[in-house]
């Protein structure tokens, strides 16, 4: 026993043994370890004994970095936000059972027919809009119908152009609502399509102001 003690290097004894015994190190609180004291006294002792052992110094250095790591990990642990306390579990009642009752309703066949009247009126609008859409883009390959359609459109465009010019000549700002004033909904839609054609031919420019539904018309160049 004494022999082994004698043969063992000095740093295997306390306090320096902490740096050379990883198992012991893990059992200690890193904040209880005074690294600067350990390392300085370790170096002093080595110098005193004149036993410069680079392997031992390297191990001591390695251990001290482990201690630093442990310390910083503990610090980070402290940095973490504390766990929110479990919210007190609120009583969630079971779903209420709806009482079932018979109830006479007020809807009569007359209500149904009035609703039908309304539905059919709006249906007409939708259907007309749809037919207007199909008129404007005739299917490819129907050239004869297409040219007839375009001829008619040319006439309509001319008529519309005259109307626009007349309005503009009166010094008025030309807007779609003025052009479509007094027209049936279907006619309004048709007029707008004609306007789109005029714009497409670059004869007029259509523009809108932000936050306004109104469409304004400006005549392009001299007609």
């Amino acid at each position: 026993m004494t022999e082994t003690n004698v043969n063992k290097p000095f740093y295997f004894r306390p306090p320096w043994n902490i740096l050379f015994d990883l198992q012991l190190l893990e059992r200690l609180n890193p904040w209880d370890i005074n690294l600067s004291f350990l390392l300085l006294s370790f170096l002093d002792e080595m110098e005193k004994r004149d036993e410069i052992d680079f392997r031992a110094s390297g191990m001591a250095l390695g251990s001290s970095s482990t201690v630093y790591l442990m310390k910083s990990e503990l610090l980070l642990e402290l940095e973490k936000a504390p766990l929110a306390p479990e919210p007190p579990s609120d009583f969630i009642p079971p779903p209420l059972v709806l009482p079932l009752r018979y109830e006479l309703t007020t809807t009569t066949i007359q209500n149904l027919l009035e609703a039908l009247d309304n539905a059919l009126k709006t249906e007409k609008l939708f259907v007309l809009k749809a037919s207007a859409r199909t008129e404007i883009i005739p299917p490819a390959g129907v050239i004869p119908t297409l040219s007839a359609y375009l001829m008619e459109m040319e006439e309509q465009m001319d008529r519309m152009m005259k109307k626009i010019v007349a309005l503009a000549n009166k010094g008025k700002i030309v807007s779609f609502s003025k052009l479509a004033h007094g027209l049936e909904k279907l006619e309004q839609i048709r007029s707008f399509i004609v306007l789109l054609f005029l714009a497409q031919k670059n004869r007029v420019t259509l523009w809108q102001e932000e936050n306004s539904d109104e469409v304004f018309v400006t005549i392009n160049g001299a007609q």
Binding site: Y102, L112, D117, T122, E123
Partner: protein
Amino acid sequence: MSAKNEVTADENQEEKFKKDLALIEAALYVAGRPLDTKTLGYIIGSRSKKRVQQLARALIEKYRQLETPLEVLELEDERFVLQLKTEFSARVRKLAVRPLLSDGPLRTLAYIAYRQPIVQKQVVDARGAHAYGHIRQLAEMGLIERKSDGRNKILRVTEFFSDYFGLSRDIKVMKRQLKKTFNELMKKPLSSDEEYDFNES
């Protein structure tokens, strides 16, 4: 089997009969519309049409014997209904305050009834995108049914719809009725609730 056991079996059968009778009554009350034997059988957990008829007829008898403004009737097509006797209608119908449907869904329903059978997409084209919600609601309420036909959904009104508005269950007849009533009513609108005389008696 001892006499005592037989009595118990009889008692059990009687208990079961009473329980099923109550279920039929509950079903007819809650539905507020005529129900067929299949639906009633479903409620009592029986596939026997005979059993359902036996129960429903017992209920008719029960109501007949009670002094009550309600009655249970067997309709021609083997359906049963619990309803208020007509003589009471005029006196109490003013208490009805809620419509079956709000305006939007009612229009969609009327449209489907008039155009049926109709592809769902067509309904949406004619009524706008909000019609999807209406269609779902109408189907949930059992007023229309949706059948898939390839990619399309075909809509038509249900028998409940016909019953509610007192229209024929035959689509062709129903459409004729709608058209006829439509023409009559739209020309000469009926006067509404004000007609009822609440000062009577």
